[in-house]
Every structure is written in structure tokens, then in C-alpha cells.
Amino acid sequence: MTTVDWSQLPPPQPLPDADSAGFWQATANGELRLCRCTNCGHWHHPPLEHCRRCAAPTAFEPVTGTGTIYTFIVQRQPAVVGYFDQVPYAVAIVELDQQPGLRLTGRVVDVDIDEVRIGMRVAARIEPLRGGEFQVPVFAPVAVV
């Protein structure tokens, strides 16, 4: 029996579906686009084919990717494949500026993990995901003017 070295495996890869394809196409182009209702303008994440408020069709539109950390964790123990040798790392739920409750979860980068705080202003940046062709949004602090 071959011994598999789990620590060498890549991170989980996304399985896009018909509703999320636009998100992954945008990140592949280095852009963050989220799902938005073409009628009432409500943003949706995760994306939906039709608006959950007014049932009109949705489309992907670019967002600034700026927002505020709602909450965060610091992962210390290896727990997820692809990240066993990446600990410690911080992951935050970010409330985006576009709309209250519009949230995106991602790693917090470019900052000492002990400096991460709830309420911190961050901006999304698109990074390649190891192990495939996908790119993902991560968050870096932005200077508050």
C-alpha cells in the first residue's frame, strides 16, 4: 500500500455550478464580481439564478471588494488539506460595503495575525489557488484615511 503524504496535497478545489460559474470566471480574470438582481439591485452571495426577494434574473457585477471584518478566527492546528503547513493563518467573514449582510469569507493576508481585529477595514485581492486553475479573493487591510 502506498503511503500518501497528505501534507503535500493541494487545498480543496471549488466545484463551480451554473449559479456560481460567473463568480469563478471573474476571479480567473483577476476580478471580483458578485451576483446582483437586475431588477431590484439586491446583492446575493452565494449567487442565485433569480433574486430571492423579487424573483427577477440576476447578473454578475464588479464590486470594490472593500468591507469590514465582522468576525475572524486564527487557525493554529492543521485542520484542512492544503493548509497543514500554513498554520497559523487568519480567516475573516467580511461584510462588504455594497450592502448590509453581504458577506464574503476569506483569508486575511499582509498583516501580522495578532493584529487582526473585528471592525478592521479590508479590501479583496485576487490570488491564485494552489493545485489548479482557480483564483480566490483574499483580504488585506486598507489604510483608514
Binding site: P12, P14, F23, P46, Q77, A79, V80, G82, V91, R107
Partner: protein, 381 residues
């Protein structure tokens, strides 16, 4: 809805171990035979069987076959974690009350192939988790550490408060021979515990084990003639928000219990103050904190003091997790909480017996999804 037209008449379980080397089917069959024996019934009396699982092979079909049934009537395998245990129990009661079955077995089994704390294999992730899992965020301790951090930010709760919950559970498990973790826990030891995912240390997480639990239900009428005093489901409620997506729940300082508690207390005419026992679902210490507040045992941010002052143990206001819970007795996905409630309400818990136990709240779930059920020694008039 009068769930108390049904009753729990038998309970059974296997040993809880780190690694049994046995299949889920074998473990489930052992627990079910024990529960039927406890009730004074035999497998041939069973015409209904239900469990909840996340797709493991010990289904009601296979397990009913394994205990000798040539056919099974009412059977439901609910795809769920601990969030729907109360629903599964209420469904079993409903099946009896509506005449779909006469004797229903409810079970949950976990073997070493089912572990939720870690993802080691190569994976592709769909559904709503496809967005964050690629960033190293896909196991429950991570989701709920997010919630605990938010509570600390808003209410000033502390790791010491979470520790008080772990310590209380452990103190109860010390006297429970069935518990997997029985070494007394001090605050110092708790704080020395290694970080898993801040703000959770190792003692904030459920103790995953191999084992099985089973409960047998039948009608309240038939229950009177069986071996043990019946324990009655008094009322149950369910609630899930944010489509079951933890990161989307609007206020992570409260959980599903914000919806379920008023629903449950309205249906039963009871309140937190009426409970002698509270088997609080405790996949994480923080789950107890948020749901305990939501069910009305104390105000937001007061759980730490409540536990430190001895109000959550013998001689206090309500005994929380007298068996040690998922944190210390073992992670049987919450069905062991129902076993414990029945054991206590029958007043057969020995040195751990809660004096004059009449009513027990059992909660199930965490974050955006869950439910709860109240059990009683007496059928409400």
C-alpha cells in the same frame, strides 16, 4: 400537538471509545438490542426505525436487517448532524401518534470512519462551501470559533467563560463511568490547552468517539405496561435561519435558539425556570453559551458567572449536562443527551442523579440550525 401520547420506554448504548475497530452496523445493532432489552421488547416488536446521519452506511435498512428483521415498515434516515436530533425524536413520536408505527427505534452511531474535525483527503467542494473551503475554512470548529469571537467582541465574554462551561461538563463526567474524558479539569489546565482555532482551545471542542445510542418509543398506553417508568416528550420545536449557512447568520452572538426558544416555550407553556436538567448541545463550549442565553437561563454575557457560581450544577438552578455532554462524555452527535435525560427522569442515574428531576430540556444543533425538546416524568394533564 400532543407528543406525550407517545413515550420513551427503552434506552441502550455501546461503550464510547476512541477507536472500536467495529463497523457502524455492529455498533448500532448492539445499542438497539440493549435498548429493546431495557424496554422488555424484542426486535420482532419493532416496526419503525429512524436515524440521522451524514451519509454513513449504518442506515435503518441495513441495521434493521442486522438485528433480525425480515422487513421494516416506517423508516427514515434524516440527512443531518446534531441539528436535527430533536426533530428526529419528534418525528418518531409523531409516527406512533399517527398510527404509522407501534414501536420505533431511534439511533445514532459513529465509527472511526466518521470524523468531523479534520479534512485530510484531496477534495473538491460544491454548494455554498465552494467559496471558503479553498481558503482552508471548511470544518465546524472554524465556523463556530467565528461566532465565539463575535460574542467576545460584543458582550465582552472571555475564554475563561468558555472554560467555565468545559470545567462544569468535565466535573460531571468525572462521576460518569461511561464518559470518555474523566480527568478533572481546572481553569489552569483549560488555559494551558493548545489552541485549535482561536478563540477555541482543545477543551472547547467535542470529544469525537466511536459508539452508538438507541432509544425505543411506543404509545403512552402501551408504555404503562413495560418495564420502566415511561418518559414523555412534552413538546418540541425546530428552527433554521440563513439557509443553514453559518457565515450568513445575521447576529452570531445568538444561535437558532433565538427562534426555537420562544417557539418551544409557547408550545409547552414552560420556561427555563421550570427545567431541572438542561442537556445543552455542546459540540463546542460556545454553543452552550449562546443557546443557554437564548433559552432564557440568563442574560447575554452572563453565562461565565452563572457557571462559576455553581448555578449550572447540582444544588444550583439547573443541572447542565449531568453526563458531561459531547465535550466530556463523548460526541454521539447529541443523541446521548436524550439518553441522559431519560436516565435522569427515570431517576436511575445513581450517584449522578439530579434530585426530584421532573423536566429536562434537550437542545440539538448549533449556529443557524437546531431544535429542542422537553421531556417529562409525568404526562401533562
Amino acid at each position: 400537538m400532543d407528543l406525550s401520547a407517545s413515550a420513551i420506554v427503552g434506552i441502550g448504548r455501546t461503550a464510547y471509545t476512541r477507536k472500536s475497530g467495529r463497523t457502524g452496523i455492529s455498533l448500532a445493532a448492539e445499542a438497539i438490542r440493549a435498548a429493546l432489552d431495557d424496554a422488555g421488547l424484542s426486535p420482532s416488536d419493532v416496526d419503525g426505525m429512524t436515524c440521522f446521519s451524514t451519509g454513513d452506511p449504518a442506515s435503518p435498512l441495513r441495521v434493521s436487517h442486522a438485528i433480525g428483521l425480515d422487513e421494516i415498515g416506517w423508516n427514515v434516515n434524516t440527512y443531518a448532524g446534531g441539528n436535527q436530533v430533536a426533530l428526529v425524536m419528534a418525528n418518531a413520536a409523531s409516527a406512533i401518534i399517527t398510527g404509522q408505527a407501534e414501536v420505533v427505534v431511534v439511533y445514532r452511531v459513529l465509527d472511526s470512519n466518521v470524523r468531523y474535525g479534520k479534512v485530510t483527503g484531496a477534495v473538491e467542494v460544491g454548494g455554498f462551501e465552494q467559496f471558503a473551503a479553498p481558503q482552508g475554512y471548511m470544518v465546524p470548529p472554524q465556523w463556530f470559533a467565528m461566532w465565539a469571537q463575535r460574542h467576545q467582541h460584543v458582550y465582552g465574554s472571555t475564554c475563561e467563560d468558555l472554560g467555565a462551561i468545559a470545567i462544569n461538563n468535565r466535573a460531571h463526567a468525572v462521576a460518569n463511568e461511561h464518559a470518555i474524558a474523566r480527568d478533572p479539569l481546572t481553569l489552569e489546565t483549560y488555559l494551558e490547552g493548545r489552541w485549535i482555532v482561536e478563540p477555541f482551545r482543545v477543551f472547547d471542542l467535542a470529544y469525537e468517539v466511536d459508539g452508538a445510542v438507541a432509544l425505543v418509543l411506543t404509545s403512552a398506553d402501551r408504555a404503562k405496561d413495560l418495564r420502566h417508568p415511561p418518559v414523555y416528550p412534552i413538546g418540541a420545536a425546530e428552527g433554521t435561519g440563513a439557509g443553514g449557512m453559518p457565515d450568513l447568520w445575521s447576529d452570531q452572538t445568538s444561535m437558532y435558539s433565538r427562534i426555537v426558544a420562544p417557539r418551544l416555550w409557547a408550545r409547552t407553556g414552560l420556561s427555563a425556570a421550570d427545567m431541572d436538567i438542561a442537556c445543552m448541545y455542546d459540540c463546542f463550549t460556545y454553543t452552550v453559551m449562546a443557546t443557554f442565553e437564548d433559552f432564557g437561563f440568563c442574560d447575554k454575557g452572563e453565562v461565565g458567572d452563572y457557571f462559576r457560581e455553581g448555578r449550572a450544577t447540582y444544588g444550583g438552578d439547573v443541572v447542565v449536562n449531568p453526563h458531561g455532554g459531547l465535550l466530556s462524555e463523548g460526541y454521539l452527535h447529541g443523541l446521548n443527551h436524550h439518553y441522559e435525560a431519560v436516565h435522569q427522569l427515570r431517576r436511575e442515574a445513581g450517584v449522578r442523579q439530579v434530585d426530584d428531576a421532573e423536566l429536562a430540556l434537550v437542545t440539538a444543533g448549533a449556529g443557524p440550525y437546531g431544535g429542542a425538546i422537553v421531556y417529562g416524568r409525568e404526562r401533562p394533564s
